[in-house]
């Protein structure tokens, strides 16, 4: 049944977490953030992703808690729908189809059953804020057509719109304008900052806005780093504002605390500033947050803040300005030079991360595992400063060794080059610098590869450079009288007619090394380093080079810049076949003979999967994306899939990931994107503990002690309580959201039945007075108690098997009757 579905290109995570402001749940336990087509729910305490709300078919552009039910979340998307979610259970409740492309979503408690969205009109650059009335209906998908216009010419970013206290007004900024629309008066006030080209006001542009939660006060951020606090803005003439100035660069976002007593601001300085009482002299800082603050949000409970950063990270900050949790996604801040590399040990995707760092990104859990600081120098964010760039990275010897190359080029002639070799330390579970080689080559290093031979006692590294040489580095003994050590030294330098070396790769068994020198491919014996043969097709410089695997290991593939793909037979030293294909990325699958090649054409990128032995491709997918594909990689699967369809068999053992120019990480899948949650995170959600309120500390402790006592007592009597977790009926009842459950009358019999002790395990007399059970009942259905008991009787008479009735001893019946007599009227008062 899986095979019936066609293969699709899907976003596989790594999408921006910082696209919009994150939203806290009412109790600050969860934090929601948009992530591509999904909404992710993270736990603020554990940083774990507990849910992925999927259902939108395009980028999610806005999320907001339902002001009328704080257990529900609204989201809007480019696909033109607003969806209402139950975030605790991760269930889509309703879909409202609006029809326009929605750019942002706002709600507030005083707008009865309507939400506000930003849509754009026919002309591409004009955005409107409109209110959408959400019709009340029981059906799952509802057309929301009642759209009323609120503000025109707004900025598409939701940071530029804010709702005032009690929803009395909405304020929007764009360029040099601040517009305030009063809902009651239906009047718009407009304030203009001097926008003259004179130097003084040149950077007066508004960048963001926030409204005071209690007072008539609007805070606006500006490009020149100023924050203006506007008051009296209901009067076009008497309006006044005051300035707060600390940021030296653009203010990226602003947020008021829940009480409005302090204002938070952030920008390029990566410092969160808290302005207390909105005074210039009274401010607190949280510095060194790592990257530009893109968004700031405040939890409704007021105990937490969070900042979204440009390096795809969310930091949860406590009220006393202490960072408490970091949710880090795939860093997309810098250019990817290293390409996509798989760490053989963790199967993590390794690529450029923060400046000068290598990030290890888990594809399974869609989060960053850790950062490896390669450059090990302070990063100074300054415009025009030429930084050290990490250009190459390669793993060797099953992840025991990591080679990295960094370079910095200020002028044409001044190249600073450094190669570092890192060894995996089992004790610290991390990479430790082993050898540092400065200027390994005279010119840029174009390729780097480890000899992937089984004999790991003799690791080999080959670097190819534009200076016309390729160098072979081997691990040698570097011990001295102080310690035993190993280090890397150059073993062999090869060149071919002073051509630039552009690519290098080892054959699968490690016996052959192929190095391409511009148009020529040379094959070297890895034992003796002598030139075995050369291939030259005169079809342009070699762009990609790789050996075939397994049964196809006698083939060498080369893709040239002129759009020719060649396949040479190493046994006959002749061209086996060639094809005209403008290949950008060519990646062999380590677990099969397959080679994936992505070609670039004017309309988009196409994927070809083929075996070197067969000139006919196994699989072709045209137009996998519109942009240029920059990097690709095969990631071995933990559990092999079994696609029976021949076309998809290449995905059985590995998955192909690729990265486009706009740095979206894509993959192929036939299924809808699978739930990537680990079982532990689910567990976390299920075992949702009681809120740690002061009452919990007083009563919870007390009760725990009581429970312990009780347990002891019970243990003494060798009585075993029925564990509710183990009974499937109960767990089903408890862990299924209330609104999708069948009616209580239907469930009741099953539920009661499950609570009854079976004859085999427990004696009939030992029906425990299960407090839990009562609680569950109360929480599940707060019907009138009479009803409930009647139904119990009903079910007793009809549904349940006779034997159970028989099993009820007199004492049990007495017990049950006792329950019936218990006064449950207080429930209605709840």
């Amino acid at each position: 049944m899986v095979e019936e579905e066609s293969l699709r290109v899907v976003h596989c995570g790594g999408s921006e977490l910082n696209f919009r402001r994150a939203v806290f749940s009412a109790d600050s336990k969860y934090i929601f953030c948009v992530s591509g087509d999904f909404v992710k729910v993270y736990s603020t305490a554990t940083e774990e992703c507990v849910h992925i709300l999927q259902g939108h078919r395009n980028l999610v552009t806005g999320i907001h808690l339902n002001p009328n039910n704080h257990l529900q979340l609204y989201s809007c998307s480019f696909d033109g729908t607003i969806k209402l979610w139950d975030y605790i259970d991760g269930i889509l409740i309703k879909t409202f189809v609006v029809g326009h492309k929605l750019h942002a979503l706002f709600t507030h408690a005083h707008a009865e059953d309507s939400v506000f969205v930003i849509i754009n009109k026919e002309t591409p650059d004009i955005f409107q804020l409109v209110s959408v009335k959400l019709p009340k209906s029981s059906s799952q998908e509802i057309e929301a057509e009642e759209i009323s216009f609120v503000l025109d010419y707004v900025n598409q970013s939701p940071k530029c719109i804010a709702f005032g206290h009690e929803g009395e007004y909405v304020a929007a900024v764009r360029d040099f304008y601040l517009s305030v629309y009063f809902f009651k008066k239906k009047k718009t006030s407009r304030f203009i900052l001097s926008s003259s080209r004179s130097k003084k006001h040149a950077k007066n542009n508004f960048t963001c806005i926030a409204c005071h939660p209690k007072e008539d006060c609007i805070a606006t951020g500006h490009k020149d780093g100023k924050i203006r606090l506007w008051r009296n803005f209901d009067d076009d003439k008497k309006y006044t504002y005051t300035c707060l100035h600390w940021h030296h660069d653009m203010v990226m976002d602003l947020a008021f605390s829940v009480t409005g007593s302090s204002l938070l601001s952030g920008g390029r300085e990566s410092v969160l500033v808290e302005w207390r009482d909105a005074t210039e002299k009274n401010k607190e800082f949280l510095p060194r947050l790592g990257a530009t603050i893109e968004h700031i949000s405040v939890s409704p409970a007021g105990d937490l803040f969070c900042t979204s950063h440009s390096d795809n990270k969310i930091i949860v900050i406590q009220r006393n300005l202490e960072a408490s949790a970091v949710i880090q996604g795939l860093v997309k801040d810098s250019n990817i030079f290293t390409g996509l590399v798989i760490d053989p040990r963790t199967k993590a995707l390794v690529l450029n991360g923060k400046p000068g760092h290598l990030q290890f990104y888990s594809l399974q859990s869609d989060k960053q595992l850790y950062n490896l600081d390669i450059v090990q120098q302070e990063y100074i964010n300054d415009h025009g400063l030429i930084q050290i760039e990490l250009t190459k990275a390669a793993f060797g010897c099953y992840g025991n060794w990591l080679a990295t190359v960094e370079q910095r080029q200020e002028k044409e002639t001044e190249l600073e080059l450094q190669m570092k070799l890192w060894t995996y330390n089992k004790k610290t579970q991390g990479f430790v610098l082993n050898t540092k080689i400065s200027m390994p080559h005279e010119d840029h290093i174009t390729a780097l590869c480890f000899g992937n031979a089984e004999k790991s006692e003799n690791p080999t590294l080959v670097t190819a450079s534009k200076d016309g040489h390729f160098k072979v580095w081997i691990l040698t003994d570097d011990s001295d009288i102080y310690k035993q050590a190993v280090g890397w030294t150059c073993d062999f330098v090869g060149s071919y007619h002073k051509y630039q070396a552009t690519n290098c790769c080892f054959s699968e068994d490690g016996s052959l090394l192929a190095v391409s020198f511009e148009e020529i491919v040379t094959i070297w014996d890895s034992e003796t380093w002598e030139l075995k043969c050369t291939f030259c097709q005169r079809a342009g410089k070699i762009r990609n080079l790789c050996f075939g695997r397994l049964t196809c290991s006698k083939y060498l593939l080369g893709a040239t810049e002129n759009g020719i793909l060649c396949c040479w037979n190493l046994l006959s030293c002749a061209l086996e076949w060639s094809a005209k294909l403008n290949i950008r990325v060519m990646e062999p699958d380590p677990n099969s003979e397959n080679v994936a090649a992505v070609s670039q054409s004017s309309v988009g990128s196409d994927l070809f999967v083929f075996k070197p032995s067969e000139p006919r491709p196994l699989y072709i997918q045209k137009n996998i994306c519109r942009e240029e594909v920059q990097w690709g990689v095969f990631v071995p699967r933990d559990v092999p899939e079994s696609f029976t369809s021949e076309a998809y068999q290449w995905l059985n053992r590995s998955q192909f990931y690729f990265l486009t120019k706009s740095q979206s990480l894509l993959t192929f899948s036939t299924k809808s994107p699978e739930e990537k949650l680990t079982p532990t995170s689910k567990q976390l959600l299920a075992e949702e503990s009681l809120p740690t309120t002061p009452f919990y500390f007083i009563l919870g402790k007390h009760r725990q002690q009581q429970d312990e006592k009780l347990n002891k007592a019970l243990e003494d009597e060798l009585i075993q309580l029925p564990l509710t977790e183990n009974i499937p009926a109960i767990s089903e009842l408890l862990h299924t959201p209330a609104h999708v459950l069948p009616s209580a009358s239907y469930l009741c019999s099953m539920f009661v039945n499950s609570l009854l002790l079976s004859k085999e395990t427990k004696s009939a007399e030992e029906l425990p007075d299960d407090i839990d059970m009562e609680e569950e009942k109360e929480s599940e259905d707060s019907d009138e108690e009479n009803d409930f008991t009647e139904k119990v009787q009903d079910t007793d008479n009809t549904d349940l098997g006779e034997d159970i009735i028989h099993q009820l001893s007199k004492s049990e019946e007495k017990e049950l009757r006792k329950f019936r007599k218990v006064d449950y009227s207080w429930i209605t008062a709840l």
């Binding site: 007072e215 008539d216 009296n232 008497k238 005051t242 300035c243 030296h248 005074t279």
Partner: protein
């Protein structure tokens, strides 16, 4: 005089600066000649140098300002005791001034009983000024040591002063006098600030480290509110309450040396709110009459505006919010005032800044523009054309300079080398502590006259080659005690003195002696003093003008009043009589210029045309008054006027500009045809290359002399401002 100090040219001691200045002079004459090529062919323009006194000199910063709501006038006192009155309705013209006195450092200034102006100072005296006769009515010792603060009661009938010895004294204002009433409870240390409750029942007094609230009836302190000395967790020596303001709801606002603005509840004596606004002292506070906004000035040169805004539009709850900061000063803002439409501030850097509140201004005209008044609206330099001498007037001395000259020629825009440097001929110091009010050098260069508040001096100068000798003309008549304006006739035979009694004296000068010819008595019923004089070059006519009434023209030959030019709403800022035609040209503070024919006793045709058509709107928007008018002897159609920032030649033969034409046209490009040039030409040829231009006149028909006073030099003489860390330095 303070004004003089600020106003005149600068030292020659520094060679480099004086050279630069000379070069500026050069340029000006040449560029001006380019502006009006027919009038001033540039080929043989002579370089002129003018210099000034050497040695250090203190500048007179503004110490206090007091705004009078009824007359819309602003009184400004400077650190040397000068008091100036600005008329805010008349385009912020400085219409009156009282000369300073060395021992009278003013610390407080207030208006009471409507139009009565009082000041108090560190010499312990309370002074009342006579605004009509422009002199001091009386000075009265308060017997409390130096006076630091003064406040008039809301009704205006009582005056309260705070003294060095900690006493607060209440005076009753009676007609023509003030009368001591009683003392309040004496405090430990000096009373630096005082404020009345608008009902007049309580007062707040700011002292060192605490604020006292007094009950006026009993005179006893009912609350003592201690101010936190801590500043940024560092205990400063003492916390000085520089200013207090008592609001009608019982709130007391205090500003102090720790940079705080604090709100106190006077009923309970508790601190309500604290705004830390500066790292340095907050030195002054002024509240608007509606009590919906106030302004504070800090030692960092910033003024902050606080406004009472409603918390939400629906509720009536209001709170004070710091709104806009304004940084128009480089030094301490010693004083602020709050007029209904503007924030007014003055400080050590000698600027008076009037910042209109946009929300209070009805129409966005030039009233809404920021005003920065730096220079006095008077002429402090006089010139002897014949001998090419310039006389600079300072507060306590006069400087006489002979201009340098050059023989070189050059083209337009060149700076010519000086063949002869400017000479400092004379440095004349005054006797006594009083400041000079006015001074004049005769056109022939052989007489110098100046006056202080109590004495009149006339000197005769004798030139013998390079040396110069000075001889005081003694035995001045008793009526020549003090003069507001002095003028010599063109042939230097007559001296005209406008005295502060409103009378005009005509004196004939002989070799080494003089003879009183006549005194024109003021019109019956007016006591207004004449401040401006102009004499016709043929010596027949004398025009004199007071601050508000019309211009009187006297016939000097017959010694009688010839006519009176009809009064105009705005005060006269400059007067001159044209040669040959005897047309009187009058400039008013609203930038209107009238031409009045004295022989015909009516406005000239040109003046009527101008009035009919109206001036260019940009011309009317100029905010500095015209301080000097002169004429070109060979070109009767030209009127030369200047103010501190521009020099203008009005060519009466050309059509007037209308609102569509460019007023400040740059020099038309030479490659354009004459037709276009003629079409775009209009009567006003304006040059704004001078920054602060103090004086400009024609020496002869080919030479202009200009005196500039670069602002940087004034700033350089001031004490250094508070150093502030600036980002990126």
């Amino acid at each position: 005089m303070a004004a003089a100090e600020r106003g005149a040219a600068r030292p020659t001691g520094d060679n480099r600066t004086s050279r630069r200045r000379r070069r500026r002079c050069r340029e000006h004459s040449l560029r001006t000649s380019g502006l009006a090529p027919r009038a001033l062919p540039g080929q043989s323009a002579r370089a002129r140098g003018s210099g000034a006194e050497r040695g250090p000199r203190r500048s007179a910063g503004i110490r206090c300002v007091a705004y009078n709501n009824q007359s819309n006038r602003l009184a400004v006192s400077r650190t040397d005791g000068t008091v100036e009155i600005y008329n805010l309705s008349a385009n912020y013209f400085q219409e009156k001034f009282f000369p300073g006195h060395e021992s009278r450092a003013t610390e407080a200034l207030c208006w009471a009983k409507g139009q009565r102006l009082f000041s108090a100072g560190l010499n312990g005296e309370i002074i009342e000024y006579d605004l009509q006769a422009l002199n001091i009515k009386y000075a009265m010792d308060a017997f409390g040591g130096p006076i630091w603060s003064m406040a008039a009661s809301p009704s205006g009938s009582q005056l309260l002063i705070g003294c060095e010895d900690g006493s607060v004294k209440l005076f009753q204002i009676i007609p023509d006098k003030i009368q001591f009433e009683r003392n309040f409870d004496r405090q430990k240390s000096r009373i630096l600030s005082l404020s009345w409750h608008p009902s007049g029942t309580h007062i707040a007094a700011g002292s060192i480290d605490y604020i006292s609230v007094f009950d006026v009836k009993s005179g006893s302190a009912i609350h003592k509110m201690l101010v936190d000395r801590q500043y940024m967790n560092v205990s400063k020596r003492k916390c000085i309450i520089w200013g207090v303001a008592f609001l009608s709801d019982g709130t007391v606002i205090s500003v102090d040396s720790a940079g705080k603005v604090q709100f106190w509840d006077s009923a309970t004596g508790t601190l309500v709110k604290n705004h830390l606004i500066a790292n340095a002292d907050v030195q002054s506070i002024a509240v608007s009459d509606q009590e919906d906004s106030f302004v504070v000035g800090t030692a960092e040169g910033t003024i902050f505006h606080f406004q009472l805004v409603s918390v939400t539009s629906s509720s009536s709850e209001k709170q004070w919010v710091r709104t806009k900061p304004f940084q128009h000063h480089t030094h301490d803002v010693r004083t602020v005032a709050h007029s209904p439409t503007a924030l007014i501030s003055g400080g050590t850097d000698t600027h008076l800044v009037i910042r209109p509140l946009m929300e209070k201004v009805e129409v966005k005209n030039y009233d809404a523009a920021l005003r920065k008044i730096t220079f006095p609206h008077r002429r402090l330099i006089s010139c002897s054309k014949k001998r090419q001498l310039l006389l600079f007037q300072f507060s306590h001395h006069l400087d006489l300079w002979r201009l340098g000259s050059t023989v070189a020629t050059g083209k337009h825009g060149d700076t010519l080398p000086l063949s002869k440097d400017a000479d400092h001929l004379l440095h004349l110091k005054t006797k006594g502590p009083e400041n000079i009010i006015c001074s004049c050098i005769s056109p022939c260069g052989s007489w110098i006259a100046y006056s202080t508040a109590s004495r009149f001096f006339l000197y005769r100068l004798n030139y013998e080659h390079d040396s110069i000798s000075l001889q005081r003309v003694s035995k001045m008549p008793a009526f020549l005690r003090s003069a507001l304006q002095i003028l010599f006739s063109e042939d230097s035979t007559k001296l005209f003195v406008a005295s502060n009694q409103g009378s005009l004296h005509v004196i004939r000068l002989l070799e080494g002696s003089f003879k009183h010819l006549h005194t024109f008595q003021p019109q019956s019923g007016t006591v207004e003093s004449m401040c401006l004089l102009a004499v016709s070059p043929d010596g027949n006519w004398l025009a004199a003008s007071g601050t508000s009434a019309g211009v009187h023209v006297y016939n000097v030959k017959r010694l009688k009043l010839h006519c009176t030019v009809p009064a105009y709403n705005f005060p006269v800022t400059a007067l001159a009589i044209a040669p040959n035609t005897n047309n009187l040209v009058i400039a008013h503070s609203d930038q209107q210029i009238f031409e009045y024919s004295i022989p015909d006793k009516q406005y000239t045709e040109w003046s009527r045309t101008v009035q009919k058509q109206g001036f260019h709107h940009l011309w009317l928007q100029r905010d500095t008054p015209i301080t000097h008018i002169s004429f070109h002897p060979k070109r009767p159609m030209y009127i030369l006027v200047h103010d501190a920032y521009m020099f203008c030649i009005i060519d009466k033969s050309l059509p007037l500009p209308n609102d569509k034409t460019l007023l400040y046209n740059p020099l038309p490009p030479t490659n354009e045809s004459d037709v276009i040039r003629r079409r775009t030409a209009h009567a006003f040829k304006i040059s704004k290359i001078y920054k602060p231009l103090l004086f400009m006149d024609l020496l002869d028909e080919r030479t202009l002399v200009a005196v500039e006073r670069p602002l940087d030099d004034i700033i350089a003489q001031l004490p250094p401002p508070i150093k502030k860390k600036k980002f990126g330095t």
